[in-house]
């Protein structure tokens, strides 16, 4: 039984953690919000955030888990992009630390510092979350529930 009203600006997808799906979802999200918001810049920021969150989820999703979920909802002049997946405890802890670090400073300064640090080390960029925060101007929120991680990128919309 459906207990809550689904708004017209809501979309949810659930799929296996395959890299090749990400670009397809990014293009869909951009088109969807281009129509829904009539704001090309916001639609592209939302799709970039969705893409970066999905890349993280595919990289760090627990191998036993067969899917990840992206849901995007518009309500109260906000768009909430949420990517949910199972993750190992050490990845969850890394994510908590990462988020605390990037939310502690001035976004551009943190972004530049993280770029410089990343250039000096091998491996993953770890620039995705700060990119969403600084370049797209989104707010980030982390929820952990029984080994399941949800990361939200929340976009404030102009009041109508």
């Amino acid at each position: 039984m459906i207990t809550e009203r689904i708004s017209s600006d809501y979309v949810e997808m659930r799929f296996g953690p395959r890299w090749t799906y990400i670009s397809c979802v990014r293009r869909f999200v951009a088109s969807f919000f281009m129509i829904g918001l009539s704001d090309k810049e916001r639609a592209e920021q939302i799709s970039m955030a969705a893409s970066e969150l999905l890349e993280n989820a595919v990289k760090y999703a627990s191998e036993e888990e067969g899917y990840l979920k992206i849901s995007i909802a518009k309500a109260n002049n906000e768009v909430d992009v949420c990517v949910k997946n199972k993750a190992e405890p050490h990845h969850i802890n890394t994510l908590r630390r990462e988020l605390a670090l990037i939310q502690a400073g001035q976004p551009e300064a943190v972004y530049l510092k993280k770029m410089e640090e990343a250039a000096m080390t091998e491996g993953q960029s770890r620039l995705g979350l700060i990119r969403i925060l600084f370049e797209a101007g989104a707010r980030l929120r982390l929820e952990v529930n029984d080994g399941e991680v949800s990361i939200h990128a929340i976009f404030k919309l102009e009041a109508a």
């Binding site: 890299w19 970066e52 990289k59 770029m115 620039l127």
Partner: protein
């Protein structure tokens, strides 16, 4: 288009890169999208080759044109950060000009920020289209 050593085109997945020597300026045009899982596997060695050849030929300017690039993920951004870091370490050997389209959201957000990593040697130039 120059097909001389060091300045060869690159085509991988949805990405295409075409370098063209124009006097003492090297123009490198990117098109498509950088959306691979590990773009550094191909782009880091490619940018290193471009950097080394630019030094060897004593070029004054390398222009990287990303206007036809519809997306670059953060791992792709990191490959440019690594190139900029190398370029910065050479002092004023050559100037790196990052050409972007002001009407493309990711380019308008990412490119000027990249230039701030090395303001003495990297310039971002935003144009319409």
């Amino acid at each position: 288009m120059s097909s001389e050593r060091g300045f060869v085109p690159l085509n991988v997945d949805t990405l295409s890169i075409v370098p063209r020597l124009d006097g003492d300026t090297l123009r490198v045009a990117m098109s498509g999208a950088v959306e691979m899982r590990d773009p550094g596997d191909v782009l880091n060695p490619y940018w290193t080759l471009i950097d080394e050849e630019a030094l060897r030929r004593n070029l004054k300017v390398v222009e990287l044109d990303v206007r036809d690039l519809n997306f670059m993920n953060s791992s792709g951004i990191l490959t440019l950060v690594r190139w900029i870091t190398r370029c910065k370490s050479h002092g004023n050997a050559y100037r790196l000009v990052l050409l972007y389209d002001r009407n493309v959201t990711w380019q308008r957000a990412s490119v000027p920020t990249l230039a701030k990593l090395a303001p003495n040697v990297v310039v971002s130039a935003g144009i319409d289209g």
